[in-house]
């Protein structure tokens, strides 16, 4: 007999986990299906980059275009907690004007709702996850409440950026990070220990100080009775003859299981979500289109002082003085962030970015303990040609591999050139030598965008798939524009709102 739930949630990352918790708290009978493993952080998370590769989605994605995107370690996750298992926990909020780029600049698209709609959810998410940050926050509108914890201590890269930025007249601040600067208690979760400055935040946090979903919204959801099934890969969204979603089919240990559900929430991330929609022929002509990715140029330099860039929260410092630069020749803006780095990641970047090998690579790497970086996180305008489709090649599961095309537009190129100048000025003023640039794009966004016009979007402003009643998308696939901030916090806020809108409608 087919098991029946009020709702089934596909994916347990920043979209699925908060939504699961919210639905369970409202008394719904809910289950989450996660393709990856349930980890035990203390026993399973080594402070070793290769050993942590199992947190990345490594089914192959084919990457095309002039600025072909890196996947795997760059922007995908697998395991209970999704990509939040290895996000760096950098959780700035967007500013109100970011939601209406088209209105302000005449390019891109506006969100169907604005900052005010999400503000209470930002407040709630920051308080629940235990975000550490400065109060008051120096940019954007005044907040109702300060961050629940003071900022984490600044590491060497943050101190250097502070020094360089001050010298060139750019204001900086300790950043908001979803890692605990002090011990923290939340009902439904319990006590979480304070961050020990391990600096290994681009992998699993072995102490639970980082607010990945597996130590925050997942235990909350379970405390309300939600079930989480790891290693369950969804292959089909079932529908009735009227086209309404009725449940899912998933594969576990090679066997197929069918679940019936009153509602299906697709929260598999901006690659697997459109892939599953395309595999099922759901969502209409806009699925996979309007893909955006954050310009994420990094500038590295070597300093006379030791930096030991593996210590402390990697993104310790922020500046949003470049949110709308006075001398901008582009729409939108970007934030500046100091960055730490682990040695394997740094070596790979030196290999790709500078092409160093042999004794030149060995020599450069002996200076690893003296390097520090800054990077940007910039907005990206959607275009119809940047998109995800299914390729003809099948992966090990027997399903078509995703094929992603990406090319930065003129706006992103001008923004990156501006940022290159600004960051080099900061690093020069801070005393950097051997300065070099590593161009990159981070985060894949917008492959099932929401909108008020069903002819120009995949889902409505509440995440409901236009052509398939009973199916809701809830992850950063739905973002109409990229927003110039790291996406995790906004995904959580949108997830809580999506859940509330669903529950309000269910209550009539």
């Amino acid at each position: 007999m087919t098991e029946t739930f009020d709702a089934v949630v596909i994916g347990t990352g920043a979209g699925g986990a908060p939504l699961l918790a919210r639905l369970a708290a409202a008394g719904l009978h809910v289950v989450a299906l996660e393709a990856g493993t349930l980890w035990d952080p203390a026993a399973d998370f080594a402070t070793d980059e290769l050993d942590q590769d199992n947190l990345f989605w490594t089914d192959e994605r084919i990457s095309a275009g002039a600025d072909a995107l890196a996947f795997g370690a760059n922007n995908s996750g697998i395991g209970v907690g999704g990509s939040t298992l290895h996000y760096t926990a950098y959780t700035p909020r967007p500013q109100p004007d970011d939601f209406r780029l088209a209105d302000e600049f005449g390019v891109g698209v506006d969100w169907p709702f604005g900052y005010a709609e999400l503000e209470p959810y930002y407040d709630e998410a920051e308080a629940f996850m235990g975000v550490s940050g400065p109060s008051p926050y120096p940019w954007g509108p005044p907040r109702k409440a300060g961050y629940p914890l003071p900022p984490l201590p600044l590491n060497a890269a943050a101190q250097l950026m502070q020094r360089g930025a001050a010298a060139v007249g750019i204001k900086t601040s300790p950043a908001a990070n979803a890692a605990l600067s002090g011990r923290y208690y939340q009902a439904g979760v319990g006590w979480r220990a304070a961050c020990t400055n391990r600096g290994f935040c681009q992998a699993g946090c072995s102490t639970g100080a980082k607010a990945s979903m597996d130590v925050t919204y997942i235990p909350l959801a379970r405390s309300h009775g939600a079930e989480v099934r790891p290693e369950c890969f969804v292959t089909e969204i079932t529908r009735d003859s009227a086209g309404r979603a009725t449940g899912v089919v998933y594969v576990h240990d090679g066997a197929e299981t069918r679940l019936a559900a009153g509602a299906v929430f697709l929260c598999a991330g901006s690659v697997e979500t459109p892939r599953l929609l395309l595999l099922n022929g759901i969502g209409g002509p806009h699925v996979g289109r309007h893909l955006t990715a954050h310009p994420g140029l990094q500038i590295w330099g070597r300093f006379d002082e030791a930096t030991r860039p593996f210590k402390g929260i990697p993104g310790g410092l922020i500046s949003e003085d470049t949110h709308r630069p006075a001398d901008a020749d582009f729409a939108g803006g970007y934030l500046l962030q100091s960055i730490g780095v682990m040695p394997v990641t740094y070596a790979r970047q030196v290999a790709r970015g500078r092409g160093l090998w042999g004794e030149a690579l060995r020599d450069h790497m002996r200076g690893y303990g003296h390097v520090a970086g800054i990077n940007i996180l910039g907005d990206c305008l959607p275009t119809d040609t940047n998109r995800l489709v299914l390729s003809d090649e099948l992966d090990a599961r027997g399903l078509p591999k995703p094929h992603v095309t990406f090319e930065a537009g003129d706006n992103e190129r001008r923004m990156t050139a501006h940022a290159d100048r600004v960051m080099r000025q900061i690093w020069d003023a801070a005393g950097a030598r051997d300065v070099w640039a590593f161009p990159r794009h981070a985060h894949v966004i917008g492959t099932a965008r929401m909108g008020a016009d069903r002819d120009a979007s995949v889902v409505d402003p509440d995440g409901r798939v236009w052509d398939t009643p009973g199916l809701v998308v809830c992850d950063n696939s739905v973002f109409p524009s990229a927003l110039p901030v790291n996406p995790a916090l906004t995904i959580v806020a949108v997830a809580l709102r999506t859940a509330d809108r669903f529950l309000a409608r269910a209550r009539g």
Partner: protein, 220 residues
């Protein structure tokens, strides 16, 4: 490639032999120690599983030019790990659309090195001098010369080389002896109590701040 190395700042050197006692100490958590020692103790298989014996000789020689183990206490040979990965058919989650699947790309690329060695010197790649090998590898990196001529039209040699180099560099600097060589002590992040709740981790995290379990650089 746009930012050439500057010669004005000599790289620091680090003392020999500091890392293994730290890995063995309670400052390194048990799962971390397990991962590092497995890598340190790994013994290569009797024969390659993906490459033919001849192709592997070339590949191994080329990897040794990309990430030479000069001066390390024991050889660090990344070729075996890449061979094992290609045999398993796994990867890092993506590839350039301009390249065939990894296995085919590596077969073509390595065959290209031998073909280039044959064309330029009438010898196998692995029998050339280090300088001759380096010249052909530079050709491969920039998709030019006899290397490029030996490959099928449309093969994106520059991206294949970049992928290979990044993988080799990552594998090399995951090895405890290579980490020791660059003064990296980040694996010892548990403090003195093996990661128990409340473990101090790192407390001296600012500029020029060093904790006792981190090595002091040798001034050249």
């Amino acid at each position: 490639m746009t930012d050439a190395p500057q010669a004005d700042a000599p790289a620091p050197r680090w003392p020999d032999g500091w890392a293994l006692p730290v890995i063995a100490s309670p400052a390194t958590t048990a799962p971390t120690r397990r991962a590092l020692l497995a890598r340190l103790d790994a013994t290569p298989p009797a024969a390659p599983r993906f490459f033919s014996a001849d192709a592997f000789e070339t590949f191994q020689a080329a990897c040794a030019r990309l990430v030479p183990a000069t001066g390390l206490a024991a050889p660090v040979d990344v070729a075996w790990a890449i061979d094992a990965r290609l045999a398993a058919g796994t990867g890092d989650g993506w590839r350039y659309a301009t390249l065939p699947p990894d296995g085919e790309a590596f077969r073509l690329g390595v065959a290209g090195l031998d073909a280039a060695a044959e064309a330029a010197h009438a010898e196998r790649f692995c029998d050339l001098s280090g300088a001759q090998q380096d010249a052909l590898l530079h050709d491969a990196q920039h998709a030019r010369g006899p290397f490029a001529a030996a490959l099928p039209a449309g093969f994106d040699a520059a991206h294949w080389f970049a992928d290979w180099l990044a993988e080799a560099a990552g594998l090399f600097y995951a090895h405890p002896l290579a980490q020791q060589d660059i003064g990296y002590a980040g694996f010892a992040d548990a403090g003195p109590t093996d990661g128990a709740p409340g473990a101090p981790g790192w407390t001296r995290i600012g500029l020029d701040e060093r904790e006792d379990r981190e090595p002091e650089p040798l001034i050249p």
